[in-house]
């Protein structure tokens, strides 16, 4: 028997790592990987809660989150390729057309 809070702490650590990577990293691909890390942290807490309440709905929601993550990764990487083709860079600091 493992306390539920351990899983929640691990999930929180994963999420915080994702947020930190999102804010710190300057490579657009690494930023995308940080988003995936955040989604994984949320998935872990979903599964932990589902295991606690013995309810399968949590696992179904994890399934939907994975589907959305796959769609998002496909579209996002296509956007990255398009950005690289026009700007010739992967650094988010140099993609600043919307900056004042």
């Amino acid at each position: 028997m493992v306390p539920l809070s351990y899983y929640l702490v691990l999930s929180g650590i994963l999420f915080v790592c994702g947020v930190l990577g999102f804010l710190i990293k300057r490579n657009i691909i690494t930023i995308f990987m940080s988003i995936e890390l955040m989604l994984n942290g949320v998935n872990l807490s979903f599964v932990a809660f589902a295991a606690q309440w013995q309810s399968l709905s949590g696992q179904v929601f994890v399934f939907f989150v994975m589907v959305v993550a796959a769609a998002e990764a496909a579209v996002g990487l296509a956007i990255i390729i398009a950005v690289y083709r026009t700007r010739e860079t992967l650094n988010v600091d140099q993609v600043n057309l919307l900056k004042l």
Partner: protein, 177 residues
């Protein structure tokens, strides 16, 4: 967790991607310990298989090198550090305050059988499931449109609408003669 920290520390995107695969694999093992065998299998197939291959292909296609460090803005430091501190304190306070009422999770009992999940998915969650399939279809089409070369699309459109200007002129001069 070590893999997650490694993802932050590494400066080369390939190394970050490989450490992310480590995170995915250990999370799959964690799901298996929690008894969610279907989710563990899907985690390995979808995340560690499909999404990470997509990432690696993009990294190699774009020939991504080491990233250069830049100094963050001062506003981020001014707002971010207190924000992170307050958030961490809030989470710690919640966990400590509620620790007496937290429940335990049994390990090793496989209760997330694919059969039950399929029954739930195709009966109670049928509409979200179908909407998800439409979402995937739109994502595929969007990815193809975004990743294809823009001049190829323009050329195809032009050839659909009208013949290019020069050939039309040639046809006209031919009629005059």
């Amino acid at each position: 967790m070590a893999g997650a920290v490694n993802l932050l520390v590494q400066s080369h995107p390939i190394n970050s991607a490989l450490s992310l695969i480590v995170v995915m694999g250990s999370l799959a093992a964690e799901y298996l310990l929690l008894g969610a065998e279907f989710v563990a299998a899907v985690q390995v197939i979808v995340y560690a298989g499909a999404i990470m291959v997509l990432f690696l292909i993009t990294i190699m296609l774009l020939n991504a090198g080491k990233e250069e460090r830049t100094k963050g803005s001062r506003v981020a430091v001014l707002i971010g550090v207190p924000g992170v501190t307050i958030g961490a304190l809030l989470v710690a306070w919640t966990l400590v305050g509620r620790s007496s009422t937290t429940h335990s999770v049994s390990i090793g009992a496989l209760w997330g059988a694919p059969k039950d999940i399929a029954r739930l998915l195709f009966r109670d969650f049928l509409l979200p499931f179908e909407v998800t399939s439409v979402l995937i279809l739109i994502a595929i089409m969007g990815a193809v449109v975004l990743a294809s070369r823009p001049e190829a699309i323009v050329r195809r459109h032009r050839s659909d609408e009208a013949p290019p200007q020069e050939t039309r002129e040639l046809v006209a001069t031919g009629k005059d003669h």
